[in-house]
Symmetry: C2
Subunit: 214 residues, 2 copies
DNA sequence: TAGATTGTTAATCGATTAACAATC
DNA sequence: TAGATTGTTAATCGATTAACAATC
């Protein structure tokens, strides 16, 4: 397999879904599956599933199918689900708190090691045993503690400076919930969750379905 | 323009971003723009922007560009940003609370008219003046109140029954935050926000950048 | 072995980019 | 008018689907 083959983001976005269904099969005690079965579960075509998986190697066995445990383990490695991550959250408003309190995080190897905010009313409070610190402490904290990922839950006007601060302190992955586009160097992974845009996409289809064509 | 021309979801997902930047231009008092300028702001190619917009009509003027107010208003109509929506939230845990408390909602014409949960500790509490009701009341409530959109913030095992209940009571748009796939009829708009999958996508690129190639 | 299902190449489809005539 | 920029067609690129030889 060509190490440097360019994998499209469309492929990458399907992998977590495969992973989710494979984990579900394991929970049900099912240890064998096929691209056809995965197709029925995920809604993606069997052909596409085989193409996707073969970007990363031949995980199946001709004539047989896929070993669920093996395949989920391989996909887990690809998407990084096999690792633990130290995370900081900047912005302890609605979304920041929701992220900090989300237990799925802890179960999946994500460890929130610090939370920052600039609101004095929030500083000093704790979410899941992590005390909210003054945002002014972020540089000091990051210079003393290794952190994998930063989550931006600030208002949009603070998003870019927050990102800059993370980048300057060596963070290489940013999950951005602020409703704005931020700029980061090429070697920093960035994933945006733009809820506003998601909602407008919903209302587009909602109106398309409900508005009478005259 | 062909009324029934199929517009790809890729196009639809770009529209809110155009809308966001156009609103920003208006705030800055800029009333004229071009596909070239929009390209610099959004990162999409000028050609693509013109193609996208011309799916819905000729909003520009040859030799001149686009009137910002007019274009934002037209895009707003397309994505439904010009309307108000009555919303219910089911599940008042971390995410449900964050959504309910999100003020951007109210500013943009979204009105949370009811919140439901099954946890007795939450029932009776209020978020932004909306009292959390027992989930068992949902059918009664929906039979008596018109609601546009339903937001699912339940654990995954309750997501499908929640969706079914919304659909049976005539809700035509669902915003799903539960980490599972739900099935709805074709005439119901569905938008999934799968944070787990978003996070795995981030860790994929994070590991790709940070893991040394040997 | 025969049947099943992968891995992979080839064909198709759709989306993006390029080019340019229209026109303000 | 000349310059600028759209709207739109054509060309290119990439992603998905189809097909099938390999093989368990």
């Amino acid at each position: 397999m060509d190490r440097d083959k360019k994998i499209s983001t469309a492929v990458i976005r399907r992998l977590p879904k495969y992973y989710r269904y494979l984990k579900e099969l394991l929970r049900k005690g099912i240890y064998k599956t096929s691209s056809k079965e995965l197709s029925q579960m995920t809604g993606f075509s069997a052909s596409q599933i085989r193409q996707d998986l073969n970007n990363f190697g031949g995980f199946g066995q001709q004539g047989f199918g896929y070993d669920v445990y093996n395949l989920s383990s391989e996909i887990g490695k690809i998407i990084g689900a096999d690792k633990n991550y130290k995370i900081i959250i900047v912005g302890a408003g609605n979304i920041g708190q929701a992220i900090a309190n989300y237990t799925g995080f802890y179960e999946n190897g994500y460890d929130v090691v610090a939370i920052f905010d600039k609101n004095p009313k929030l500083i000093g409070l704790s979410l899941r045993n992590v005390t909210i610190q003054d945002i002014d402490e972020i540089d000091t904290f990051l210079s003393q503690n290794y952190v994998d990922l930063g989550v931006i839950c600030t208002p949009k006007n603070a998003a870019q400076t927050t990102a800059d601060s993370m980048v300057q302190n060596g963070i290489k992955g940013i999950w951005n919930f602020a409703p704005t586009d931020i700029r980061v160097p090429d070697d920093v992974a960035l994933e945006n969750v733009h809820l506003n845009e998601s909602l407008f996409s919903l209302t587009y289809y909602y109106n398309k379905n409900t508005t009478k064509a005259d």
